[in-house]
């Protein structure tokens, strides 16, 4: 059942990303470009997602999940260096090409080279970080 939940959630997520035009990096850069002709699309996407998730998470409560046992929620609340530095590095990459991880992966279905090169870098970066942390 957890597999089915994962597939359905993934399909909804991917469909939502493409419907919301987040798979178009130029639209994302249009939002980030506050000095240019600003594109508010991403505000609507984020608002729709955050409000829905806030209500949804409230309704779920804090008990066990339906099929996966206890909720695995992050417990930390400290603001440390890796959090801030990591977010800054991520922001630099996001502002450079207009892709964050979900839209970058979803854009692969366009069959174009543009998102594919981004995902090659994404996987390389994640793998490099995992190797560095282990050693």
């Amino acid at each position: 059942m957890n597999g089915l939940i994962a597939v359905v959630a993934g399909v909804l997520f991917g469909f939502g990303l493409d419907l919301a035009r987040m798979t178009d990096p130029e639209r994302v850069l249009g939002f980030l470009d506050i000095a240019g002709s600003w594109d508010p699309t991403l505000v609507f996407v984020l608002a729709g997602a955050v409000v829905t998730a806030t209500v949804g998470f409230r309704l779920i409560g804090r008990g066990d999940s339906w099929f996966g046992g206890p909720m695995r929620l992050p417990q930390r609340s400290d603001i440390d260096r890796p959090l801030v530095l990591g977010a800054a590095l991520f922001g630099a990459g996001w502002g450079l090409a207009g892709y964050c991880p979900g839209p970058g992966l979803a854009a692969l279905v366009q069959g174009a080279a543009d998102p594919a090169w981004f995902v090659v870098g994404l996987i390389a970066g994640m793998t490099a970080f995992a190797v560095a942390r282990r050693s």
């Binding site: 991917g14 469909f15 543009d114 970080f129």
Partner: protein, 145 residues
């Protein structure tokens, strides 16, 4: 057409919020794409299958929408390969170091009122805006052409 795009954006956002709610309610997991992808790459014992299925679903969902509305998103061409690779590496390292991306921190974290996610989201949006400004209007204008 601008109004239509706003409506699509809002509807797409609602679907993303529903997906996050379903994954948490059904399996007790946070729908953070960087965490899910990073988890696949690191292969923790017995924990890879649902991640792979979620990511496969993500691609199927995007493909279905693109099939229904092929004109919605046009693939970008001509963006420098070095910049795409560099952006990917920065996003890969940054999201793993910072424990999340736009979905994990920006959607799920903000919905849980997590202070860490609030700080992370403020930082990555601000830095992304600065980098975009540098590349489009600032001293780095022209680097990507």
């Amino acid at each position: 057409m601008v109004e239509f795009d706003w409506l699509s954006a809002l509807a797409g956002g609602v679907l993303i919020g529903l997906a996050a709610t379903l994954l948490l309610a059904g399996s007790g997991r946070i729908a953070g794409i960087s965490g899910i992808l990073g988890g696949v790459l690191e292969r923790p014992r017995g924990d890879t299958l649902w991640r792979g299925l979620f990511l496969a679903g993500l691609l199927v969902g995007a493909a279905v929408h693109q099939w229904l509305d092929p004109a919605a998103v046009e693939a970008r061409t001509g963006f420098p390969v070095w910049a795409l690779l560099a952006a990917g590496v920065l996003v890969g390292v940054g999201t793993r170091m910072g424990s999340g991306c736009t979905s994990g921190h920006g959607v799920c974290g903000l919905a849980r009122l997590s202070p860490r996610s609030g700080v992370a989201t403020a930082v990555f949006v601000a830095v992304a805006m600065i980098v975009t400004w540098l590349l489009r209007h600032g001293p780095l204008a022209g680097v990507l052409t």
